[in-house]
């Protein structure tokens, strides 16, 4: 009886993330597919024109020290 009660808290803690993960897998989407008309509009894209935004990021990267997390590509030095 003592052993059982001693085991109970850690087992609960172990089970909690498992329940959350399994619960997450079967999560009911709160925005249904038929409610995503606005989200699917091209004007809602984070990167509607990748070539243009890639060049814009490149211009900033050359002139500023901050880099990364832009969501765009690029390469090379392009110094000066």
């Amino acid at each position: 009886m003592i052993m059982k009660s001693a085991l109970r808290p850690p087992m609960s803690l172990l089970c909690l993330p498992l329940v959350l993960i399994l619960g997450g897998c079967s999560v009911e989407p709160w925005v249904k597919p038929y409610e995503r008309a606005h989200l699917a509009d091209p004007i809602m894209s984070f990167d509607r024109n990748p070539v243009a935004s890639g060049y814009r990021n490149h211009v900033f990267q050359i002139r500023e020290s901050a880099r990364g997390a832009e969501g765009g590509g690029g390469g090379g030095c392009g110094c000066n």
Partner: protein, 387 residues
């Protein structure tokens, strides 16, 4: 009544889905899919601070079967530089940079994998980068998680000096999460750590120090940079669909690195379609940066520290950018292989103001010259087709 309402809602949803399947970019929010087949041809021009850069960019993307999509990129920058650095320490020059890229996407169920190779070639700088990323949709396609890794190797030389040969290695680690919040809003969080090792400075640039023996009161010596650098950047983006078919977006990024540089940037943008064919964009971006520990406009003496730099990109400064874009869509009924296309024109005006970088071309007492600032215009004109 409730049943009738639900039925109409369901029917409207079905109609919306049917309409959306015809919209470009629509597929991406319903399931993991390959990128769209499209081609972009762009002319870009940068003009500011004594530097002019222009050239073409071409990108072609085509799916191969149900599971693969292949993309090829080609870009040329023709550079003509008489920047304040160049004018004060060397002679104006011209050069050309060529960038080529190849990318393959592979789709497997809800997982999208990407492998890409980029090569950038200048007369004194060769860079080759390989990237790999994995994206996975989950929770009813409301959440997309992406993990990415890149490794790049650079070969640096110095024009006019055949004995100079240096290398640098760069590794990028990326994690991003895109989340549908409501039927009108979506957010994305991006984290990127970049680690560099090798020659990280410029083979041409010098630092300035007080020299009582010099007529001007100062002299120059070649810069010295640390051989390692690690940086972290966290960006949050939010996009909101307004009630009258327009979109509002905001972005914030925080950056810091092991050289003591920290930066923040904030951007707001508004997208407004007009009738069926026009889309207008306006945007504003603010950037502010605290300089590197080993940066100084004017060091007190010759070789004061191990590391010394006078690169204005490492100094403390702010910039404001105002941008405007217009896009006109065309239906390509005249050619069966083309679905539709668009003509686009994009313009950005930038203003950079430095807190501790002085314009020594203006003359004056050493260390009391006017602070440097400049403005630049960036124009992008491009044509896109979807097929």
């Amino acid at each position: 009544m409730a049943a009738t309402e639900n039925r109409w809602r369901y029917l409207a949803g079905g109609i919306a889905l049917a309409l959306l399947s015809a919209l470009p970019g629509a597929r991406t929010l319903f399931a993991t899919v390959l990128p769209e087949d499209r081609a972009d041809l762009m002319y870009h021009r940068y003009d500011g601070g004594g530097v002019e850069v222009d050239g073409p960019t071409l990108q072609l993307r085509k799916s191969v079967g149900e599971a693969f999509s292949v993309s090829a990129d080609y870009a040329v920058d023709s550079i003509s530089s008489a920047s304040v650095d160049v004018v004060s320490m060397a002679s104006p020059y011209t050069e050309e940079r060529t960038e080529t890229g190849l990318s393959v996407d592979y789709l497997h169920n809800k997982t999208l994998m990407n492998l890409s190779l980029i090569k950038s070639d200048e007369s004194d700088y060769l860079s080759e980068t390989g990237s790999f990323s994995v994206s996975h949709d989950m929770f009813g396609d409301l959440t997309t998680v992406t993990l990415g890794y890149s490794v790049g190797n650079d070969d640096i030389s110095r024009n006019g000096d055949e004995d100079f040969a240096q290398t640098a290695k760069r590794q990028n680690y990326r994690v991003s999460l895109t989340q549908v919040l409501t039927k009108d809003s979506i957010m994305s969080a991006n984290w990127e750590t970049i680690s560099d090792e090798g020659f990280l400075g410029s083979p041409y640039r010098s630092y300035r120090y007080l020299d009582p023996l010099s007529e001007k009161g100062y002299s120059f010596l070649p810069e010295s940079y640390p051989r390692t650098r690690t940086s972290n950047a966290l960006a949050l983006r939010l996009k909101y669909y307004l009630p009258y078919r327009a979109a509002l977006s905001g972005e914030y990024r925080y950056f810091s690195d092991t050289w003591g540089i920290s930066a923040n940037n904030l951007e707001f943008a508004y997208t407004h379609p007009f009738r069926d064919k026009w889309i207008f964009d306006i945007r504003y971006r603010y950037y502010t940066q605290e300089g590197a520990d080993f940066y100084s406009d004017l060091f007190s003496r010759r070789q004061p520290f191990t590391y010394t730099a006078r690169d204005k990109e490492l100094s403390t400064f702010q910039s404001h950018t105002v941008g405007f874009g217009v896009s006109y869509e065309i239906k390509a009924d005249f050619w069966q292989y083309i679905d539709h296309g668009s003509f686009n024109l994009d313009f950005d005006y930038m203003r950079y103001s430095y807190d501790d970088f002085r314009d020594i071309t203006q003359g004056g007492v050493a260390g009391e010259e006017p602070l440097y600032s400049y403005s630049a215009n960036v124009i992008k004109a491009y044509f896109s087709i979807w097929y």
